[in-house]
């Protein structure tokens, strides 16, 4: 017994990554265990009911799970845990959703008491129709997603055998001229297609768009793509035209300004959730064509109304794409039950090791408030405190010092507060992109940045997602949306596109010491720290001292 795995009593699995059998072990446990943390020496996986059920859905049985645990475990596996694994997995498949030739969608059971139990639940009652026989009950077709979600919460996940509609066929091929899908992208597409629906998690800059294109080429059907904003929609369109057989005319944009419906339509979440007189006028987009595939970009941002509507789309294939499946609202499980289980997940550091994303140096710079600021901070109202410490004047000095240090490289300065950004823009002599900047202006500035005409860009949270800025190598974050973990990850993602010369990216997060800014920063960094990004912490004084001493500054 000298395996790489240690099974803990709280159902976490610790994998020693330097162990010679670590890779085999990772492959064996990946189908059922969720990678929770991936720091440098020991990776933590967690065995959850959801993970076990997904494994069952993918054709693994309890015996394989137990064997994998026992095989690689360094210490004896607690018997109770093995029993629990078997019992949990045995809950899957007692209920089945399927198509009945005469009754339509039906829920059948192999274990009558389970059906009785769930039918007594008040949450299930409105979702089901007539009892057809002792083991079968009709389900309203529109509630297919809802009932799956509800049953999952009740602990009796239903196996969905009702299948998918093919949708309106439309020829889509990948135009692999001089490039090809990377191996992990290929795996992600296969994993998704095999599972029918689900979520693919890839780090920022790892080419999620291509996974979407790959899935479309598999489906060869009309596709609805939902994205976060118009800039992102344009990027998708651009990429699809470049990478697939699709032409400009075949791709429609459905946003605040344009309302095109084409075989492939790219819509923004914002337009879908626009509400007029209590109704969502644009939700009918979902029904406007017989879509064969729906792609949800940045699925971790899926707004609540879309959630609700997605529940009605269970007969269509759904692909969710994200880099950071952490939601501060804790609705990850809704994503899993409505879009589908996680079909593919690649640790950031693994992709980095393969050279597809740039290695990054993450640094937290701690600045001290001045005495006057400390006094003011102490007296500030609670809701003002964060704003106060996040916009301290010292941060500006640090940002300026950093910009000087990395002069000549493409630098993004990212922040939350417009005043702060405006001020920074002024000091650095750099353009500022914020919410009120028109789309045309934004695209112009981004393009100028890409071309290297501008080397420093100050952006607000509008640039958090989906903005493809391959040349950015340094990001300086001066403030953020409180403790948002995914924002931090997304911002790091802006500089992770692999550099032409393979050099390192830099991510600086400037934080005010001994304030809630520091607490929020610790929380924000959690996701990346768990992905193995080790933040160095430096004092602003040190940094400024280097800056003042020209011998030490620059690189």
């Amino acid at each position: 017994m000298n395996g790489p795995l240690i099974v803990q009593s709280d159902k976490t699995l610790l994998l020693e990554v330097d162990h010679e059998r670590a890779d085999a072990c990772r492959r064996a446990i990946a189908p059922f265990a969720e990678l929770e943390r991936a720091p440098e020496h020991i990776h933590t996986y967690r065995v959850t009911p959801l993970g076990l059920w997904n494994a069952r859905a993918a054709g693994h049985d309890a015996e394989q799970v137990v064997d994998a645990l026992v095989e690689f475990s360094r210490y004896p596996v607690p018997h109770a845990l093995l029993v629990d694994v078997a019992e949990t997995m045995a809950r899957y498949g007692r209920l089945t959703l399927s198509k009945h030739p005469t009754h339509g969608l039906v829920l059948t059971t192999t274990d009558r008491p389970v059906l009785e139990e769930i039918l007594r639940s008040r949450k299930v009652q409105p979702l089901v129709g007539d009892r057809i026989d002792a083991d079968t009950v009709a389900v309203h077709p529109s509630e297919r997603g809802q009932i799956k979600q509800t049953l999952l919460k009740l602990g009796w996940p239903a196996e969905d055998l009702a299948g998918y509609v093919d949708g309106e066929a439309h020829r889509i091929d990948l135009a692999e001229d001089g490039w090809a899908l990377r191996p992990y992208q290929q795996q992600a597409v296969e994993g998704f297609w095999h599972g029918g629906s689900g979520v693919v998690v890839l780090p920022c800059g790892a080419g999620k768009t291509l996974v979407g294109a790959g899935a479309m080429a598999k489906a060869k059907a009309t596709t609805l793509i939902l994205v976060t904003n118009t800039v992102s929609a344009r990027q998708w369109k651009h990429e699809l035209v470049k990478r697939t057989s699709l032409t400009e005319d075949e791709i429609g944009e459905y946003s605040g300004t344009k309302k095109e419906i084409r075989p492939v339509t790219i819509a923004t979440y914002q337009v879908l959730t626009t509400r007029r007189k209590g109704v969502y006028p644009h939700l009918e987009l979902f029904d406007s064509r017989d879509w064969g595939l729906i792609v949800y970009d940045e699925v971790h941002l899926l707004p609540a109304p879309v959630f609700k509507f997605t529940a009605d789309l269970q007969a269509r294939r759904r692909l969710g794409l994200t880099a950071t499946l952490v939601r501060e609202d804790g609705r990850e499980s809704d994503v899993f039950s409505l879009i589908g289980p996680k079909r593919f997940d690649a640790p950031w550091k693994e992709i980095e090791a393969q050279g597809y994303i740039a290695p990054a140096d993450c640094v937290e710079v701690r600045v001290n408030l001045t005495d006057a600021e400390r006094l003011a901070y102490a007296t500030a109202e609670t809701e003002e405190k964060y704003r106060f410490c996040a916009t301290t004047a010292t941060k500006q000095k640090v940002a300026e010092a950093l910009v000087r240090k990395f002069a000549g490289q493409q630098i993004l300065v990212i922040g939350q507060y417009i005043d702060q950004l405006d001020e920074l823009g002024e000091h650095l002599g750099a353009p500022v992109i914020k919410g009120e900047t028109p789309n045309a202006q934004r695209e112009k500035l981004f393009e100028a940045f890409r071309q290297g005409e501008i080397s420093v860009l100050v952006v607000s949270k509008v640039a958090n997602f989906s903005i493809d800025l391959p040349e950015a190598t340094v990001a300086i974050q001066v403030s953020g949306t409180f403790g948002s973990r995914q924002e931090e990850a997304q911002r790091l993602g802006r500089v992770l596109r692999p550099k032409a010369d393979g050099h390192q990216a830099h991510f600086y997060s400037v934080v005010a010491r001994d304030t809630i800014d520091q607490d929020f920063a610790a929380h924000r960094q959690r996701f990346l720290a768990e992905q193995g990004y080790a933040y160095r912490i430096v004092d602003a004084d040190e940094l400024l001292a280097q800056d003042a001493d020209p011998d030490l500054s620059g690189a």
């Binding site: 017994m1 240690i6 099974v7 803990q8 009593s9 709280d10 976490t12 610790l14 020693e16 943390r37 720091p39 440098e40 020496h41 020991i42 933590t44 026992v70 475990s73 360094r74 210490y75 004896p76 596996v77 607690p78 018997h79 109770a80 093995l82 005495d371 400390r374 006094l375 102490a378 007296t379 001994d514 304030t515 959690r526 720290a529 768990e530 193995g532 080790a534 933040y535 160095r536 912490i537």
Partner: protein
């Protein structure tokens, strides 16, 4: 049932009965008298309640063995087949020949298994003095017969009703005549011969068959419903024709106006002679449900054993500052149990188990103070110093022998009170025996095999069937104890994946070797039956009941073996951790204790199991600084114990916390805040949240507070500062964990049910004493005519003083024993058998066989002496 039967069993009967051989005993006492010492010892071993107090003689022993309490106790300890045999005897004629009993058990067709198993059952009943008499005349002791025979109040487990004779006892002769006539028998006016004729008809298979052939189909249906019991049926005043048909022929006999009964003989005919629907001659086998490699079992169990130790240590650590309060009624409150369960990260039921294990091993106890609380005992510290495997053996040993049943915690007693963990009323006498029996059964399976729990329970039920009330209410304590044993053994690591581990096996001295399923309480079927029907008494090791307790004592001494087997399987403690940049540390195995203790202060435990995951937080680092460590110590500690370089963020964290740690200092008595940085004080004063502390600036660097220091500290921390408490001398107060202990406490002694298992010395002495007493009362004197006045049975001899002296002197010279009449100091007359050693100064010094010791008797108190017919020495 003869009213004088008890007397007959106990005393010499006046007349002789029938055809018994000359050697045939006429009473239980006589039957016992014919036994060898080993036989008596076996009886006393199986029924130790008979030993308290030691009976005076065999007659007394026989009487005591026939008392209701003792018989009930003995019946409750019989295995199912033996009990079935006893039940069958209770519905058989008294006395019953062996072949009749066999017929009742095996039925008309016979059954090889039953034929093979019955001699053992009868032998066991004989050994336990529940049955006596030779194979021609088996007698069930009267009390047992009363307990087992059917009556309207207590239906027999056989489902048989009263005999024809009993059922017709009060019937008018005319009615009897009618029945006889209808049944086609020749009429007789004598009710006794009428009953006999009817009984003969019912017991004659051929004639009865012919009679039933004429029965209407519906009547047979009625019989079908009654045949396996209960044999009573309700009838209307105007019964249906089939019932009337049966009633007219005596196949149903009236009990009351509205009840009828199927007489026993008729039922037996319908059952083809069988007293039980399902005789169970063979103990159901315990079957394995899964087999694992023994190494897997051992290592799983060892892992769990390690967890057990860790859990108990964690529990004690949790209580170091003083544990939960003791309820007035004893035990722990439900809330405290919940809290403990949360702290241990287990369910309340499991938490109760660990509490009871620690309590049973004497590691925790109430402290006995006025405001009583639970706390670890000094014995805990001794225990902690032992090697891991020995620590485990202590726990497992205490668990095996404990009569407390943790599984009961949370359930309610008869008065509806919830049973509290560590509280009273958790003792169940059967617990140690059931535990041991379950483990012994596991030991009988092949190594690495885990049993099908159902078969295990079935086996236990066979060995100890439920009788009476317990069966009706369905509260099968033994089954619950058994299933608790399986769970608890797994928790403790006695078993691994359900199979008994090697170290678990070592806890059971005398356990069977793997793979030898062990027929209980006795003998393999097919035991040779001797001519007299005596089967050799089961040897001690095979008596399931006694097997438990004796072994329990032996086990205390044998922990060393278990510990030695376990030691190499325990995970080797590691002396390093892996530090990671996400501020976690992973100990890839159990840590050496000093290391674990320091780390537990410096970081919070995030995940437990084979490894431990620690997380460093500012609060945890501050805790370490509060405990008197300096930042440099912490850096050195981490560098020394980390296999990997200390990550920069962690080093920074420590420095950062240390930088601020103690920056603010708070006085205990005068409640002040001082700080070298007067801006900080200004900041505090300016902060609205400090208002409740009522701070006032004393000097640029000192603030005074009206709030007490604790509130002040709390307030400042909530404002985001890291103040340190300070003593009057200006030193930083160090908060360090210390270990609270009870005064010395002894572990609770097990409370076994019934008297303790007698050891060989006591048994030997008891047998000798009973024998001697018996000799004294029944011995045949050599020369009855020489002792006029002492002739009557049992009356002490009377001789003149000179004769007495001469006889005693002669006996002292020859070393033979004599029988004396003796008046005690209180004036009571008694008789004794003594072996005089010397006679001098008016005293006789002699070995008194009755008292089993050497005593001195004044000659003048000896009323008479007689020689014994045989030499008793």
């Amino acid at each position: 049932m003869g009213t004088g039967e008890l007397d007959r069993e106990a005393h010499v009967a006046a007349g002789t009965e029938g055809n018994g051989g000359t050697a045939a005993p006429r009473t239980l006492a006589e039957a016992l008298r014919t036994r060898g010492d080993e036989g008596l010892a076996a009886l006393l071993r199986a029924r130790p309640d008979l030993l308290v107090p030691v009976p005076g003689d065999l007659t007394q022993l026989a009487t005591r063995a026939g008392t209701r309490a003792s018989v009930v106790r003995a019946l409750e300890r019989l295995d199912r087949f033996t009990l079935q045999a006893a039940e069958a005897l209770a519905v058989a004629p008294d006395p019953a020949p062996y072949r009749v009993l066999l017929g009742l058990m095996a039925g008309d067709e016979g059954d090889a298994d039953i034929e093979a198993a019955l001699p053992r059952a009868v032998g066991l009943l004989r050994e336990q003095a529940l049955v006596w008499g030779d194979d021609e005349r088996l007698r069930l002791v009267r009390t047992a017969r009363e307990l087992l025979a059917p009556s309207p109040q207590h239906p027999s487990p056989t489902g048989l009703g009263p005999t024809v004779a009993e059922a017709t006892a009060g019937m008018s002769p005319t009615r009897l005549q009618e029945i006889i006539a209808t049944a086609g028998l020749s009429t007789t006016h004598d009710p006794v011969s009428a009953v006999a004729a009817l009984t003969d008809l019912f017991t004659d298979r051929e004639r009865m068959g012919a009679l039933l052939d004429t029965a209407p189909v519906e009547a047979l249906g009625v019989l079908d419903r009654l045949v396996w019991g209960p044999p009573y049926g309700e009838v209307t005043p105007d019964p249906t024709p089939p019932v009337r048909w049966l009633r007219d022929r005596g196949l149903l006999l009236p009990v009351t106006a509205r009840t009828v009964v199927l007489p026993r003989e008729a039922a037996l005919h319908l059952r083809a002679g069988r007293a039980h629907r399902v005789p169970e001659p063979l103990a159901p086998a315990v079957t394995p449900s899964r087999e694992y490699r023994p190494q897997v079992v051992d290592s799983t169990a060892a892992g769990q054993a390690y967890t057990a130790l860790a859990t108990v240590e964690e529990l004690a650590k949790e209580w170091n500052e003083g544990g939960p309060a003791v309820l007035r009624a004893g035990g722990m409150s439900v809330r405290d149990l919940k809290r403990t369960a949360t702290a241990l990260d287990v369910t309340e039921q499991v938490a109760a188990f660990w509490l009871e294990v620690a309590y049973g091993a004497g590691l925790i106890a109430p402290d006995g103070e006025a405001d009583e609380r639970f706390a670890p005992t000094p014995a805990y510290d001794d225990w902690l110093a032992l090697p891991a495997a020995e620590r485990w053996a202590r726990l497992a040993g205490a668990w095996l022998a404990a009569t407390r049943a943790p599984g009961l915690v949370g359930s309610q007693d008869a008065k509806g009170r919830t049973l509290a963990a560590l509280g009273p009323d958790l003792d169940r006498g059967a617990a140690p025996e059931v535990r041991r029996r379950v483990l012994t059964l596991l030991a009988g399976l092949p190594a690495g095999a885990s049993p099908d729990p159902e078969t295990l329970l079935a086996r236990l039920r066979w060995e100890r069937p439920l009788r009476g009330a317990a069966r009706e209410t369905g509260t099968d304590l033994r089954a619950r104890l058994a299933s608790w044993t399986l769970t608890e053994a797994e928790l403790l690591g006695v078993t691994g994946r359900g199979a008994l581990s090697a170290h678990g096996r070592a806890l059971l001295p005398g356990a069977p070797a793997p793979g030898t399923d062990h027929p209980v309480a006795g003998h393999a079927p097919g035991h040779p039956r001797t001519a007299t029907g005596h089967v050799p008494a089961p040897t001690a090791a095979e008596g399931s009941a006694s097997d438990g307790r004796r072994a329990a004592r032996a086990a205390v001494a044998d922990h060393a073996g278990a510990a030695a087997l376990l030691a190499p399987l325990m995970p080797e403690p590691v002396d390093h951790v892996l530090l990671q940049a996400d501020l976690t540390a992973v100990a890839p195995g159990p840590l050496r204790r000093p290391l674990a203790d320091t780390l537990a202060v410096l970081a919070d435990v995030e995940s437990k199991g084979g490894a431990t995951v620690y997380r460093f937080t500012p609060a945890s680092v501050r805790r370490a600084l509060d405990a008197g460590q300096a930042a440099a110590d912490l850096h050195a500690f981490l560098a020394a114990h980390s296999r990997t370089p200390v990550p920069q963020p962690l080093a920074y964290l420590i420095d950062d916390v240390a930088r601020r740690h103690g920056h603010l200092r708070v006085g205990a008595a005068s409640a002040y805040v001082r700080c070298d940085d007067d801006a900080v004080l200004g900041e505090i004063l300016a902060d609205k949240r400090s208002a409740s502390l009522r701070l006032r600036r004393l000097a640029p660097t000192v603030l005074a507070a009206q709030a007490d220091p604790a509130a002040l500290l709390e307030g400042l921390r909530s404002m985001g500062f890291a103040p340190a408490a300070e003593s009057a001398e200006g030193d930083v107060l160090i908060t360090r964990a210390h270990a609270y202990r009870t005064p010395a406490r002894t572990a609770p002694a097990p409370v076994p049910e019934g008297p303790p298992e007698p050891d060989t010395a006591l048994l030997g002495a008891a047998v000798r004493a009973i024998r001697a007493g018996d000799l004294a009362s029944t011995v045949v004197r050599k020369d009855e005519s020489a002792t006029p006045g002492g002739g009557g049975d049992g009356a002490p001899p009377r001789t003149s003083a000179a004769e007495t002296l001469a006889t005693v002197q002669a006996a002292a010279m020859t070393g033979s024993a004599v029988w004396i009449g003796y008046v005690t100091a209180e004036g009571a007359a008694s008789q004794r058998v003594i072996a005089p050693v010397r006679v001098e100064g008016g005293f006789v010094t002699a070995y008194d066989h009755t008292a089993d010791e050497v005593r001195t008797y004044p000659l003048h108190r000896i009323t008479g002496v007689a020689e014994l017919a045989d030499d008793v020495t």
